[in-house]
């Protein structure tokens, strides 16, 4: 599994796409993702994220696009689109689009059967895929009757069963309650630790630091590409693309206004704990904060940089 995950997993070069009705969805999109990387793809509604995803396994390839895409070192062959799922599996945003068989087992078996895998192996894969998403033994359940969180996980199982090296997901955590969301994030982390290459579309900026090594902002074209830290530090680009920085990072900006010594703002609550610990240890076990005349104006300016609803915050704090 990890063996193939070396080298360039996804190479997109100067991809352009316009829908038949004339909507330009992608323009000069170029990026590379290395095997084993996990990348978050973010951008406002309508930025072209889902459109890009559909290009990666060739579904939208030949129709109206220019540019080149290589998956695991090979360009997509329009005649072999149906073999792409061996390399790259795509989990759609709405699990209802992916579950169209009466029984869940049939849905999970669907991909491997299409890939021409033999019966016994298909059965094994169905069982292990369901188990990995925490749905062991659900083979004979009616997909349509599953809960929202179960459906999301089931949709992932239908892709895992094809054992692709690369998995791309469209908003995996949307519409989930916090528990299901946490469970889903755990599944993604396990996949990551197994060396799968992951591309995750999400609006959930607070989940990104846990999930992704790298963040690409797409807004018809790639407007930023770098580590989570690099991308979240460029607030201007971020806010221009309708996005936000993680809440913990915002809060550490506040702490800085209270003279908390910190060059590198933590992005997640775990790294925040680490940051506090280190700061305390560097200070001989102590951290000293204090309020000064510029504290409020600094907080204010941080908020107005980060936020889309500026007026409210000014008002609250002033």
């Amino acid at each position: 599994m990890t063996a193939t995950a070396k080298g360039v997993a996804i190479r997109v070069h100067d991809l352009n796409y316009r829908y038949p009705d004339g909507t330009v969805a992608l323009e000069h999109v170029s990026f590379e993702i290395m095997g084993g990387e996990s990348v978050a793809l973010v951008g406002p509604n309508g930025a072209g994220k889902s459109t890009l995803l559909l290009h990666l396994n060739g579904i939208l390839h030949s129709i109206g696009s220019r540019g080149s895409i290589e998956i695991l070192g090979e360009p997509i062959d329009p005649k072999k689109i149906h073999e792409m799922p061996k390399k790259i599996g795509i989990v759609f945003q709405d699990p209802d689009d992916m579950l169209f068989m009466p029984l869940l087992g049939d849905d999970v078996a669907f991909g491997p059967i299409n890939l021409g895998i033999e019966r016994e192996e298909v059965k094994r894969r169905v069982a292990t895929s369901l188990e990995r998403v925490g749905l062991a033994g659900y083979e004979t359940r009616v997909s349509h009757h599953l809960s929202g969180g179960e459906k999301k996980r089931a949709a992932i199982a239908t892709v895992l069963s094809m054992e692709p090296d690369i998995i791309a997901m469209d908003e995996p955590t949307a519409n989930l309650d916090p528990k299901s969301r946490a469970e889903l994030i755990d599944i993604l982390k396990t996949l990551k630790s197994e060396g799968k290459t992951l591309l995750i579309i999400t609006h959930d900026v607070n989940a990104i630091p846990e999930l992704a090594d790298r963040v690409i902002i797409l807004h018809r074209t790639v407007v930023a590409d770098g580590t989570a830290r690099e991308v979240f530090s460029d607030t201007e680009t971020l806010v221009a693309a309708g996005l936000e920085v993680p809440m913990i990072m915002q809060f550490f900006e506040v702490l800085k206004a209270f003279e908390y010594p910190c060059d590198v703002l933590p992005l997640s609550i775990e790294s925040a704990v680490r940051n506090l610990t280190e700061t305390a240890e560097n200070g001989g076990g102590h951290i000293h904060l204090h309020i000064h005349e510029h504290t409020h104006s600094e907080v204010d300016s941080a908020f107005s940089r980060y936020h889309h609803h500026k007026r409210y915050h000014r008002h609250q704090i002033g």
Partner: protein, 204 residues
């Protein structure tokens, strides 16, 4: 299904088609509750969309007709659904004809009603995942017969219009023979599916 275009049929026939359709529509609309409108419309929209799907079968491409399915699911209310779908098909795509909307609705709609009767007598009142096999089989028979009947209607109309249409009729019937099988399998599968997943759809 080939819908008859304008200008082909003898005026008497398409005028009669309008008359029959008007009578059945008035009756069906009186049976229809205003609450049924959204449900029927969404199903009509689904029938419309699905009937645009083409599958390559050897040299020809076939598409779903779904009149049997509509009948099985909706009974008499399938008639207004088919009428609405045909009108929209004509207006949105120029499929079929304007003057022939009445007769085309007859060709699809009456077999749909027959399909409903076949299905009902084949399954009995209670449909659930236990009686899925039986429902599926009745559905397949109903779906197949709905196409056969529609073809017979079409053939009869073309032939009574003039012997010049003999070859056209033969051609239309021959090209639609595979569709009888396709539609039977399709209706059977879909009825079995619904019996497993959402049997309440049969009890409206």
């Amino acid at each position: 299904m080939v819908h008859i275009s304008d200008g082909v049929l003898d005026p008497l026939l398409w005028e009669a088609g309008w008359a029959v359709t008007a009578i059945i529509l008035v009756y069906a609309l009186s049976k229809m509750k205003i609450e049924d409108v959204p449900r029927l419309s969404v199903i009509t929209a689904a029938v419309f969309v699905v009937s645009l799907v083409h599958i390559q079968m050897g040299p020809t491409s076939v598409h779903f007709i779904l009149n049997g399915f509509a009948g099985v699911m909706l009974g008499i209310l399938a008639y207004p659904c088919i009428f609405v779908a045909l009108v929209l098909q004509c207006f949105l795509f120029g499929f079929g004809g304007v003057t022939t909307i009445g007769i085309n609705t007859v060709n699809m709609g009456i077999p749909a009603l027959v399909a409903y009767l076949i299905f009902k007598s084949g399954t009995g009142p209670d449909i659930s995942s236990e009686t899925r096999k039986k429902a599926s089989l009745s559905g397949a028979i109903a779906g197949g017969i709905a196409v056969v009947l529609a073809l017979l209607f079409l053939a009869a109309e073309l032939l009574t219009t003039g012997e010049v249409f003999l070859e056209t009729t033969v051609l239309v019937v021959i090209t639609h023979i595979p569709i009888i099988a396709v539609e039977a399998i399709f209706t059977g599968v879909i009825v079995g599916f619904i019996a497993t997943v959402a049997p309440e759809m049969f009890r409206q």
